[in-house]
């Protein structure tokens, strides 16, 4: 009952229809699962907004469960609520040690499992899964960012409380301790991002690129906007068909030979998203690979967090 005090919404209000069983889920059911996850009552509005976001046709939670790939919902929180909940956007933001980060994503996963019926070996057919499917939630470092927040890139309003759900895998670190100019660091991003899933697979998968303060500074000191950086990285990831086609490089995997274009982009327009987070010491960034993007797969969804 104490958990329900975290929201002004009525306990019997339907929050969403939860896949895969398409069950109408009440605020109360979310609250019960939030207790099981270890949430504080003031986390509940974030869990409710996250559930609304994943249960949209755009996000396609059913597909994310059913896929043999390893993805799950990745939650990014923006707005003042990050600070009031004590969320971590700093050192070890993807890791352990912060209650809100650890339990909000967990609560969402428990609702999908307990209410929606999405269980591994049932509708969930992931070959590997990933540790983030226990719950993967963090906050953006807005104060330290030279750029606007992720939520604003996806239709939200900067400065408002919002949660963005990205269909993602586990993060993998990109190391570049020597680049001090944006062109060099863009090239590092490009060569690393090209390898996501397969260096010869393009367009299908999106990516959430987490840039740390020491890396973002390389761009901001040179006056580069986020859009400039993304545009340059995507330009560098325009790959000749000769390298991509099936059989090229002695590798059967690749793009069908009958595509008439001379080159293809690694990411479709809008497929490379950026979030600013991480500790202030370390010239690293991290790629969170996505899943099948666009209307045929799963699209990131941003929802405002309502009290």
């Amino acid at each position: 009952m104490a958990m329900l005090e975290g929201t002004s919404r009525a306990p019997d209000e339907i929050v969403a229809v939860v896949p895969p069983d398409l069950v109408e889920c009440t605020v109360e059911k979310v609250a019960i699962n939030a207790v099981m996850a270890g949430c504080r009552p003031d986390y509940l509005p974030v869990v409710l907004a996250a559930l609304e976001a994943v249960c949209t046709d755009e996000f396609n939670m059913h597909g994310l469960l059913a896929t043999t790939m390893s993805v799950g919902p990745v939650l990014v929180v923006n707005g003042p609520i990050r600070r009031s909940l004590g969320m971590n956007s700093d050192i070890n933001c993807f890791g352990q040690g912060n209650r809100a980060n650890a339990t909000i994503g967990r609560a969402l996963q428990l609702v999908i499992r307990n209410v929606g019926g999405g269980r591994p070996g049932g509708v969930d057919r992931a070959v590997f899964g990933n540790p983030g499917k226990l719950g993967f939630c963090f906050a953006e470092d807005e104060e330290g960012s030279p750029w606007g927040p992720l939520s604003a890139d996806l239709g939200g309003e900067a400065g408002r409380d919002a949660v963005t759900i990205f269909p993602g895998e586990g993060p993998r670190t990109i190391v570049d301790q020597l680049s001090r100019d944006p062109e060099s660091l863009s090239r590092t991003f490009a060569v690393n991002l090209r390898a996501l899933y397969h260096p010869k697979m393009v367009i299908a998968f999106d990516c959430l690129l987490a840039i740390s303060p020491e890396h973002s500074r390389v761009f901001s000191q040179a006056g580069w906007s986020k859009e400039q950086m993304v545009a340059r990285v995507c330009e560098l990831l325009q790959i000749p068909m000769e390298e991509l086609k099936r059989g090229a490089g002695g590798i059967a995997e690749g793009m069908p030979e009958n595509i008439p274009a001379p080159s293809l982009p690694k990411f479709k327009p809008g497929g490379l998203l950026v979030v600013h987070c991480g500790g202030s010491a370390g010239l690293f960034s991290a790629a969170i690979p996505g899943w099948v993007g666009g209307a045929v797969g799963s699209q990131p969804v941003t929802k405002e967090i309502r009290s």
């Binding site: 939860v18 069983d21 889920c25 059911k29 019960i32 396609n60 059913a66 019926g117 045929v296 799963s298």
Partner: protein, 98 residues
Amino acid sequence: MSTTTDAARVILDPTAERTPAVREAVARPSSLDGLDLALLDISKARGDVFLNRLEELFSERGAKVKRYSKPTFTKPAPLDLRKEIARECSAVVEALAD
């Protein structure tokens, strides 16, 4: 909401509290001869290779094969498509590939 209570505690159910409907599978067709048979392609790569071969084999055995496909493999088949198949065919083979 189901709850269990005694003087000291209240137990709440985190699940949907639903009992899945159990449906009897329809009887297997006794013969393929003249059977309206749906082949549903989920739109994954090379699913057509597998289904083309199935169509050949079923046709040789007298089935009347009709082909259907999902708009995308990432989402459940639209309800209208499921109804269309149920209306037009007596059996369905749903196939993926990779």
